[in-house]
Amino acid sequence: MKPSIDTIVAIATPPGEGGIAVLRVSGPEAVAIVDRRFRAPTPLASAASHTAHVGAICDAAGERIDQVVCTVFRAPHSYTGEDVVEVSCHGGTLTSRRVMGVLLETGAEMARPGEFTKRAFLNGKMDLAQAEAVAELIHARSDAARRISLEQLAGRLSSEVQTLRRSLMDAVGLLELELDFAEDGYEFLDRSKIRELLNDAGSSLRRLLESYRAGKVFRDGVKLVLTGAPNAGKSSLLNALLKESRAIVTEVPGTTRDVIEEGLSIGGVLFRVVDTAGLRPTSDPVEREGVERAHEQLRSADVVIWVVDLMAPIQPTKEAIESIGSSHVIVALNKSDVIARSSSTRMDIEDDSRALRISAKTGDGIQRLEEEMLAVAVGRTPSDNTEGATVTNARHYDVLRRASRSLTLALESLEGGKTGEFLALDIREALNTLAELTGEVTTDDIMNAVFSKFCIGK
């Protein structure tokens, strides 16, 4: 009988020139299809799982297309859980496309975006949260994001949620059992135990929800706006920060409307730096337009550094800083090296708790500034992730938020003296919701939304 699942193929490496390109073939016919065009001393059909074989891929007419290495993975011990052959050919768009063309002619189907991972999910190789981590790992733009995605792929978030579900499941089981012992008036589960359990589960969920803010920062990066008077030293501060930046960061275009001048990696977090014009009152309509834009940038920023020249005759007022309307402003009092030598008295602005003295020129205070930037952006340091999983995905956040609301209602039912059947409803609602996270309860819509975010070949 013909299996109804296609064998799919895609180029798994990015387009462009490179040393090698890898094509991935997955499905019940993967080995047979590659074998038909693979010339080597022994056919792949007789190859053991997890072995690599050198040979040539030829087209139907027998013409050699390329010399390749084929690696065979037998079901279920492969990424997708199906038979998989990875064909490594020479890099370059032309060669890999020719090889794929040959395989398509031989019976493979072109893979859709995310189809390999979708198959892995459907074959039970990973749950939905893990599958989503694959996409996030691929798109990771900072070290912290990469690490979090990897943890999620290893099942950290899933297992934390499963532990939570198990304890809730036990509780709801006992509560429901009670309902059937009508006349004995027996409580299988002490009410104070339930309260404790709900409180524990609730705080686990809250912790996960709180991690989302940090998680989002790790994944998407932080928008950092530098502002201040034209000659306050924004550019030299930027240069100083760049010098300290431990990794070179490239920005993927199209993620923001902002004009990004630079990307900084500090403590594993990507800071996208946006420069703005100074915020001075003006009557020039063109300039006013620019100031208005700057205000908008400041409002949408995650972190604002207001650079102030300590030597300047006119200092910004507290009111001017408050006018940005945010608590994420750091005031960098630049040129501390100069002021140290002069006899000037402390300025009013220095009383502001958000003010830091720095010297872009000597690098003095830059490290403290970076710590402050991280603290404002993340609320905690990225290495501080021993306490549990980090949530980075909006879908997960939504699931956890709804589950958390159900548990709050459960506590309300409990405090309101409601009997077991009401508590059971609240807890079951939380359980059903949490099941969406790992895909235990899933619909076509959820699956499509998840897998359409993938690139072809993954």
């Binding site: 109804s4 074959n123 009508a182 009997t419 059947e421 009401f422 409803l425 079951r428 790992t438 899933t442």
Partner: protein
């Protein structure tokens, strides 16, 4: 020709609680019905305890009634003791229960069955079925049955509701005899025949406690338990219970009892391995309870007189198959039973059943079109479970005999009936299945008080509900809308309401408030508020009630009260139903070849091939089918 002389639309094999409902429903739907029973005097007989209802079972009885079945009416007519259980919890888990006069119940059942036009009787047993090749996806199609006395009956549908009678063996101590009930025989041949068609059978065990003499009980030493006052009828169409009510009695076993019974364990058919069938875990025999809960020094025993005239008392909680002398010795250590006379020892009965995954949600078997299973043959225990299945099987047997058309089933979100059948067909069962509140995930919607609002219209559509009953429901629904509108629009002043609030023990109000907000308080009942005449504008309540009788009006008040109090929970439960209903609506073709879906786990594939779920919802509830199997199935069906 003599061989094909008899011809009916529907044949029902067995006239217990399942068969009775099946036959009456089919006949009411216009089918010609033949009831084949081994004993025409044993119709609707209460083989075990003389009671109807109880936790979750009471819900089933109310649903059977709402759908147009008989059980509640028979029980109301012959009840001798009525109680609503679980009153300490919320209304969703209240369950009515009544004790019955055992003989009167059976007489009433027989009378009702006999009064329906279109039902014929045959004192015999079905031992064979005649089949032809069936239309897809059925391998076979039923065309007739053959009885033990050699009669051939041609029919389109056959409801098998044989109770505990197929290859039945009764055990008391180490002695055993053939038979499905005290003083009655067993039936043979059909199991083997069905196995030859591809069915799988199993063995189950159930037990019944000893019966003792009321005269010999020291009544002052046991605790009397009286009926609720006033008693609540089980049937929506019973106006009030006018039967004479008598008390039941409560007593306890003691460590001496346990010691006495333990001494007989070496002669127990359970512990010596004589009984191979699996017994119910939740309705365990007394020896099971002593064995399993060794640290408990007493167990509750209810002494239940089996009727007005009889001296027979059912010893509830003392189900056993120990030797007779051990049973007696044990009983005499129970307070109040020191001088008890045992009229009949308890016994266990072992019988054939067909694991119910072989049937679909209509209770038609997946192998033979026109063959239906109902009751203990599906592995259930209890009259109410049997009656519910009988009703569903009876309805579908009539629909099937008309040829084609849509069959009937109850969704999990529509009733305990639906939960039960769905559990049976998706989980199958390896021990007798009993209905529980815990099994119904939508229990806040599936209350005993609103069974009519959930199911009566379905029954009416099928032709099972009298027009007067439907008219009463319509009037009730209209009154619910009027009263709930009135309640939500009425604002009360502190001066008019505070006296009442104080009287019921809840906080008074400082400013005018919506009446509906007060109804939400647990201490306040709408019924009580109706008694405060100053709250209501002139004629408003009369307008809402519209000349309705006392019983229906009290139901209206109860509905509005419950809906106001639990509004938030109820609406959230409805959301859950909506979310999961989409899975219930995704149908799986009956002839789907699971071998064509390579991504299924091997266990999932095996389970799905065996259970043949009808919907994605059903598939997701089969144990061994993982969530990724369900996703695979969804993706496959979509493509």
């Amino acid at each position: 020709m003599a061989v094909s002389e008899m011809k009916y639309d529907v044949v029902v094999g067995g006239a217990g609680h399942a068969g009775l409902e099946a036959a009456m429903a089919a006949a009411r739907m216009g089918a010609s019905v033949l009831v084949v029973t081994m004993d025409c005097k044993a119709i609707g007989r209460m083989s075990c305890n003389p009671a109807i209802g109880g936790t979750a079972k009471g819900h089933l009885v109310r649903e059977i009634d709402a759908l147009g079945g008989e059980m509640a009416k028979i029980a109301d007519a012959t009840g001798i003791h009525f109680r609503m259980l679980n009153l300490s919890k919320g209304p969703a888990v209240w369950s009515p229960r009544c004790q019955n006069d055992r003989e009167a119940y059976s007489r009433e059942a027989g009378k009702r069955l006999g009064s329906i036009e279109g039902i014929a009787f045959l004192e015999d047993a079905v031992v064979d079925v005649a089949v032809e090749v069936g239309p897809k996806p059925f391998p076979h199609k039923l065309v007739g049955v053959v009885t033990a006395k050699g009669k051939r009956v041609s029919c389109r549908s056959f409801v098998l509701s044989s109770g505990t009678f197929m290859r039945a063996i009764m055990h008391t101590g180490l002695t055993h005899e053939k038979g499905g009930r005290f003083g009655e025989g067993a039936s043979y041949g059909l199991t083997e025949r069905l196995e030859s068609l591809g069915f799988v059978s199993g063995r189950l065990k159930t037990g019944t406690p000893p019966r003792v003499s009321l005269e010999s009980i020291d009544l002052p030493a046991v605790e009397p338990q009286h009926s609720d006052s006033p008693p609540r009828p089980l049937s929506f169409s019973t106006q009030r219970i006018e039967n004479r009510l008598i008390p039941m009695y409560l007593t306890y076993t003691s460590p001496t009892t346990h010691e006495a019974l333990r001494r007989g364990f070496d002669r127990s058919p359970m512990f010596t391995g004589r009984i191979k069938g699996v017994g119910p875990r939740y309705c365990p025999s007394i020896e099971d309870k002593i064995n399993r809960f060794a640290d408990k020094d007493r167990h509750q025993i209810y002494l239940e007189p089996e009727g007005y005239e009889t001296d027979t008392v059912y010893v509830n909680g003392f189900s056993t198959s120990l030797p007779e002398e051990v049973q007696l010795e044990g009983l005499r250590t129970v307070q109040g039973l020191e001088k008890v006379r045992m009229l009949r020892p308890g016994y266990a009965v072992e019988y054939d059943f067909f694991p119910p995954h072989q049937a679909s949600a209509t209770l038609e078997t997946k192998l033979v079109m026109g063959l239906f299973f109902a009751g203990q043959i599906n592995g259930t225990s209890g009259y109410e479970e049997a009656a519910g299945q009988g009703l569903i099987a009876g309805i579908n047997s009539a629909l099937r005999s008309r040829g084609g058309g849509e069959m009937f089933h109850v969704k999990r979100s529509d009733g305990y009936l639906g939960v039960m059948v769905d559990d049976l067909v998706t989980k199958s069962t390896e021990e007798p299945y009993r209905m529980f509140t815990s099994r119904a995930e939508y229990r806040l919607l599936l209350r005993q008080d609103n069974a009519d609002r959930r199911l009566t219209r379905m029954g009416a559509k099928l032709g099972l509900v009298e027009s007067a009953t439907l008219a009463r429901l319509d009037a009730k629904e209209r009154a619910i809308v009027r009263l709930s509108t009135l309640t939500s629009r009425t604002t009360v002043a502190p001066s008019t309401i505070n006296g009442h609030l104080e009287a019921v023990g809840t906080e008074t109000i400082d400013a005018p408030d919506k009446l509906i907000r007060l109804v939400k308080r647990s201490e306040v009942s709408l019924e009580g508020l109706l008694g405060v005449s100053e709250l209501w504008s002139e004629g408003a309540l009369d307008f809402a009630r519209e000349g309705m009788d006392e019983r229906t009006w009290s139901e209206v008040v109860e509905q509005v009260d419950i809906e106001a109090k639990y509004e938030g929970y109820v609406s959230r439960q409805r959301e859950q139903v909506l979310r999961f209903d989409s899975f219930e609506e995704q149908a799986i073709p009956g002839d789907l070849d699971y071998d064509r879906i390579p991504s299924l786990s091997s266990e999932g594939r095996e389970r799905l091939s065996r259970m043949k779920p009808e919907t994605i919802g059903q598939a997701s509830r089969i144990s061994g089918v993982t969530s990724s199997d369900v996703s695979v199935l969804m993706v496959f069906l979509k493509e």
